[in-house]
């Protein structure tokens, strides 16, 4: 009788837990982008990805996997969470390695430079709610709790997110109940990414090669613990310094961190130093001082993808069996980006030609053409004029003169792109990404 009751009670508890865990997915975070980057990694073929890029917004506003796929056919996953703390990076690495043990791990040094060892509950949820229950998850909860001073309720909400998110019952996130989500291979974006351009900015980044700073003990120990893990588990790691503006003090921290990791034998790719090689333009490629927009991201992906291809031998897997989902996702993704970018941007043929200053005018006579005029650009062999009437940019025409006449249009937006011909191919310079509209 006692055993029967015990079994009965255990069955009840199990049923209760199943019920709770089954429904809590409808309430949790509801942030599609984090689900795409963290949760959807598990749906990738095990041990197939070329690389996994771990960090914070200094990753996902820079690297878009499907742009990398579009450029080189390489599968580099964006495994990042907003405001990622240093403490979280190790747990993210451990989790990712469960399904992708042999991938190259790109670690953003810029994430480390914030020296943030505490992980707020909001940030912790972004990550923990997307990974399955495991010892790593429990250790992550315990680790975050120790560093950040979580209460028992905080720990309970990490284990059972419904404790925090149950209040959403009257506004359940529609995508959570809609059914299986195919994701965008961690390349999702928001409106700012595709349409925002930074307004107020310094002309160029100041690079402080010789800056140094003292790393707090807590941060240093956390980084060293991370490196110890990489040593013990023979993790193939490449640290990356993103081309983000940083004050001298922050660059000092990054220099110290770079020294710390390179002293331990790990390579570090300094993209802040290579800002010119990336042909990044503060006027057009950044949505704010810390993050790239779609134009900058395309350049970044082009450069980094090429670097990885050349240094790590990643092969082009486009059209290969087993990678159909990437091909399909890339096609859809690039269709989504098309309204915001010019066709040549993804072709990679860019050069350092200044942005033309141009004017669009139309005479008052109906039937007359729309004329675009500009000043000549040094080094340009010609100028391509693009027009946007609705969603998408389309080529209007090309000329080697300083004006172009288009048929009369009422509400088109124009931009002018200088190009230089090198080895029989056109290489495009800087341009006004927003364009000028005819009023």
């Amino acid at each position: 009788m006692k055993i029967k009751r015990l079994i009965c009670s255990l069955c009840f508890v199990i049923l209760l837990l199943i019920s709770v865990f089954s429904i809590q997915g409808y309430f949790t975070n509801g942030e599609k982008l984090h689900h795409d980057r963290i949760g959807m990694l598990q749906s990738e073929t095990p041990d197939a990805l070329d690389a996994i890029y771990i960090g914070g917004s200094d990753v996902h506003f820079f690297w878009k996997p499907l742009i990398g796929w579009n450029q080189y056919g390489i599968a580099v996953w964006n495994y990042s969470i907003d405001s990622c703390s240093i403490s979280a990076v190790k747990y993210m690495l451990i989790e990712a390695r469960k399904t992708q043990p042999d991938a190259l791990y790109l670690i953003s040094l810029s994430t480390f430079k914030r020296l943030q060892t505490k992980t707020s509950t909001v940030i912790a949820h972004r990550y923990l709610d997307e990974i399955p229950y495991s010892m790593n998850k429990l250790r992550a909860i315990q680790g975050f709790a120790e560093k950040s001073g979580y209460s028992l309720t905080n720990k309970a909400e990490m284990l059972l997110p419904i404790i925090r998110f149950h209040t959403r019952w009257d506004t359940l996130s529609s995508w959570a109940v809609a059914g299986p989500y195919s994701g965008t291979k961690a390349s999702g974006y928001d409106k700012a990414f595709v349409s925002k351009i930074m307004n107020d900015f310094p002309e160029r980044f100041q690079v402080y090669d010789n800056a140094s700073a003292v790393l707090p003990d807590d941060a240093r120990l956390t980084v060293e613990d991370f490196l110890d893990y990489c040593d013990q588990n023979h993790v193939n790691v490449l640290f990356i310094k993103s081309p983000q503006a940083a004050k001298e003090e922050n660059q000092g921290r990054m220099n110290e961190l770079e020294k710390l990791v390179t002293d331990r034998g790990y390579p570090c790719l300094d993209l802040l130093e290579k800002y010119n090689e990336l042909t990044l333009d503060l006027q057009t490629d950044y949505l704010d001082i810390m993050h790239l927009n779609v134009h900058g991201s395309i350049k970044f992906c082009r450069y980094l993808g090429n670097y990885l291809k050349e240094h790590y031998g990643f092969t082009d897997k486009r059209g290969t069996a087993g990678w159909e989902s990437w091909d399909r996702a890339e096609e859809e993704y690039m269709k989504g980006l098309a309204p915001y970018i010019l066709p040549f941007e993804t072709e990679g043929k860019r050069t350092d030609l200044a942005e033309p200053v141009f004017v669009v005018h139309q005479s008052s006579d109906p039937g007359d053409c729309t004329t675009i005029t500009w000043d000549p650009i040094d080094g340009a062999d010609g100028y391509a004029v693009y027009r946007r009437d609705g969603e998408k940019w389309e080529p209007a025409g090309e000329t080697d003169q300083q004006s172009y006449a288009d048929e009369a249009r009422k509400s088109s937006t124009y931009t002018v792109v200088p190009f230089r011909i090198m080895n029989g191919e056109k290489y495009y310079g800087h341009f006004d990404v927003k364009g000028i509209s005819l009023n």
Partner: protein, 532 residues
Amino acid sequence: MSLASFTFLAFVSAVVLIYFIVPKKVRWIVLLVGSLAFYWMNSRWLVFVLIATGLVTYLFGLWLQRENDRHQQHLQEYPEISREEKKELKAKLKKKNRRILGLGILLVLGSLLFLKYYNFFGDSLNRLMNRVGSSVRVPLLKLLLPLGISFYTLQSISYLTDIYRGKVKADRNPAKFLLFMSFFPQIIQGPIPRHNQLADQLYEGHSFDFQRLCSGAQLMLWGFIKKLVIAERLAIPVGYLYGHFTGYTGPVLLFAAILYGFQLYADFSGGIDIARGVAEILGIRLESNFAQPYYATSIEDFWRRWHITMGSWMKDYVFYPLSLSKAFSNLSKKSRKLFGQFFGKRLPAFLAMFIVYFCVGFWHGANWKYLAYGIWNGSFIMISILLENVYAKARKLLRMDEQTVTWRVFRMIRTLLIVSFGRFFVRSLGLKDAVKMFLRTFQNWNNITFLTNGTLLKTGLSTANWFVLVFSVIILLYVDCKHEHGVSFRKILARQHLVFRWIILIGAVMIVLILGYYGPGYDAASFVYQQF
């Protein structure tokens, strides 16, 4: 640590587990250690105030018992003494014990009065001095109020008085007695137990009983629903309406008062159910503190159903000692001569009642508004007693049958309105605000469409939440209705098929998990009655 928190659940689980693992003989020690640990987690060093109060009560209890035992022993040793001598000895004992009891109550009550009321009276006196232009000032102190002091003080007084009356024998074991004073499920907000009801249950180790575990857990679950789904949800519009009462009049304010009544009931009874559920799991039966108060047909009936243990405490330790005292007996004789049979007979009872409700009011808090609350309730009871004959004549004249449902419903609504008006005094910030709110309730009854014109949606709750609230209050009233007719849902549930039981229980847990107001962002930490 709130009763409706994960920490408390974890704590209870640990205590229950350890309780049933250790040998029966020492299970009371587990409860004692658990209770003191619980008190420490909530009040830290103030646990020593509880221990000191317990020690004083214990020692005075022993003293009283010793006097009683000596008296008995003397009578046994000298059986031949005359009746007059026995009477004389008894009178001496009574006189001495009265002094001991008085001193004991003074010490125990003194700490409550000092810690809870010193600053209140000091501040009131300072304001008065200020008004009359005097520079005399009472220094105000930074005093911390120990958790549950209002409850365990009454427990101490009832214990000493029961020994004095010979109803109970003093506890010989100080540690066991401390357990009686500090038992953790009921220290926060009651119920207020009597020694002869609770002590033996605490000291005797109980065996694990699966049915009790299920029944206790179900009662706790119902308590969580009342507290987290109903009370916490009601707190939002109530808080808004009381905080912005100057923007509302008439029916809206009355509605706010009624809502507050339900919030208070759900909060308080929810906490009591959680406490009783925990105790039941441990094999201990705590008194129920509520008996469907919103089914009361008069204020007197209401106070027999609301905070029952406090009501019965006041009756046994304030009302009866006063009204049966010699002084009141003399008062009764004099008042009959002065005011006639009808009023004269009732005057001492009214005075005793006035004192009782004065105490009830002030017990709730150190503020004049609570005194007004006590007087409000006491006055209505006195009025109903005075007009009893008038009502009876009126009913006869109108040929009204008291047994009809309509008459009962009328009385219930009337009682609800009187109680709700009284609640202005409890919930408002102070007496002035309470009076303002009270008066504004009679103004501008044009806006009776407030229920449908969107007024309520501006009080902080969405439409969906209002639906949940209305539905859950209906369920609460339905359950109370069934209890009023002697139906126990737990017993009915126990008889159902296993699958049905599990569906109901899992559903109830989900209701708390999903619809409960708890967790990060909510301050579910405070029970209203915990402040006492």
